[in-house]
């Protein structure tokens, strides 16, 4: 299992825990096939990438997701749909939304091409 896949499993665990903070030990318990130190490395990596937030109670560090899965998806889509300034980072998505009038024209063109199809 690659590093990326392990990062995803760790994020899944913390997203499913929603607002609850988990210690490294608690995360590692849910990944019995991985060593504790590996899990800690991944947690720290994800924290440096600002996907996780760390808080300390006494000597124990606990981690939670910086934002929910839904809000990350939403931010990604917002970038896609063009309201964010960084939209050039991604190539124009397959088809941009068109106006209702243009939708009618397009549907008409589509009818023409279907008729021509064998």
């Amino acid at each position: 299992m690659g590093l990326g896949q392990l990062e995803r499993r760790v994020m899944d665990i913390l997203w499913d825990a929603s607002d609850e903070s988990l210690s490294g030990r608690q995360v590692a318990e849910q990944l019995p096939d991985r060593a504790y130190t590996t899990v800690m490395t991944i947690l720290e990596r994800l924290r440096r990438k600002r996907l996780l937030v760390r808080s300390s109670s006494g000597k124990v560090h606990t981690y939670r997701a910086a934002a929910s899965r839904e809000s990350y998806t939403a931010s990604l889509m917002l970038d896609e749909l063009g309201s964010a300034p960084d939209r050039d980072a991604v190539l124009v998505r397959f088809a941009q939304t068109v106006s209702p009038e243009e939708a009618v024209t397009l549907r008409r063109a589509l009818g023409a091409s279907k008729k021509r199809a064998p």
């Binding site: 998806t73 990604l76 124009v92 397959f94 068109v98 243009e102 397009l106």
Partner: protein, 303 residues
């Protein structure tokens, strides 16, 4: 011969390329029959203008040595490496040279900063997609749990192709195959790399017509190039119906996003009525590109 003559010629070339020539190409309709050649022409205009501008500046800088262009260039280089580049210059010359150098450094830094930011945003998007996608499509595309019908390609060394659950619900299998082939076209032909410098110059040199006109024009042409890539591999009609379904599925009565649907209709139109005479167009565009590259070099070598 004084070097001010080629300097003026080169400066005029750069101005014509970045202004009227760019406006002309942005309006041209033939580009749709040969989108990849047209993209090449846009790139050549940029490179040729850069060569002309730099050549013009160097002509002015080397004029005072009265040693011709190549000889003057050698003397200029000697002056720079000796650590006393301004020695022997009058005040106006020294000021001009310093200002030009400062300006060049600032512009290069700005351009670099924009480019680095774009590359970083792309990397962040790729990482987020890897973390967020719960499953993969048979084609290897990452599936996002989003109701809106979207499909896109995040450029990079290992590009990611992303499709939403909404798109998979909306489209039938042949349509999905066509859409994914289109996105693979973006990835395979490295369209992200083509756009990278254009994104940078559009943000730094917004006052130059070329920097304003080239990015949207090239982006539209790259969509057409990816359409061509898809129809060489998948069903043409499926691509057209997918394009129409996805563009109209999101049609909102009062719209929140910038609705620049013009390019979608043009794409549908050229897919429904494929033209056959693109070989000659490609040849003409390539010839024009070569001539554009040769022009500044010819002016410099003629000195």
């Amino acid at each position: 011969m004084t070097l001010y003559v080629p300097a003026a010629l080169l400066a005029a070339t750069a101005v014509v390329l970045l202004g009227p020539a760019s406006a002309l190409l942005a309006r041209a309709r033939w580009v749709e029959t040969a989108p990849r050649a047209a993209v090449g022409l846009w790139q050549t205009i940029g490179i040729s203008a850069l060569l002309s501008g730099a050549g013009s500046g160097l002509c002015v800088a080397t004029e005072r040595y009265h040693a011709g262009f190549v000889g003057g260039l050698g003397r200029l280089f000697e002056g720079l490496t000796s650590g006393r580049p301004l020695e022997g210059l009058g005040l106006p010359d020294a000021l001009g040279l310093t200002l030009a150098a400062d300006l060049a450094v600032v512009l290069v830094c700005l351009l670099g900063a924009v480019t680095i930011r774009t590359v970083r945003t792309r990397a962040r998007h790729r990482h987020l997609v890897d973390l967020l996608s719960r499953r993969r499509h048979d084609s290897g595309a990452a599936v996002l749990d989003v109701r809106a019908a979207v499909a896109y390609c995040i450029p990079g060394i290992k590009p990611r192709i992303v499709v939403s659950e909404g798109a998979l619900d909306l489209l039938d299998k042949t349509e999905v195959d066509a859409v994914l082939a289109h996105e693979r076209g973006h990835a395979h032909e490295r369209h992200g790399l083509v756009m990278l410098p254009l994104v940078g110059i559009s943000k730094v040199f917004g006052f130059v017509p070329y920097a304003r006109l080239a990015p949207p024009a090239v982006a539209a042409l790259l969509e057409m190039a990816a359409d061509d890539y898809a129809v060489r591999r998948q069903d043409r009609n499926a691509l057209v119906s997918a394009l129409v379904s996805m563009a109209t599925a999101g049609a909102l009565p009062a719209c929140s996003f910038a609705l620049t649907g013009g390019s979608v209709s043009r794409r549908v139109e050229r897919l429904v009525r494929p033209s056959t005479s693109s070989a000659r167009t490609v040849l003409a565009a390539s010839g024009a590109a070569l001539a554009l590259l040769a022009l500044p070099l010819a002016i410099l070598l003629a000195v």
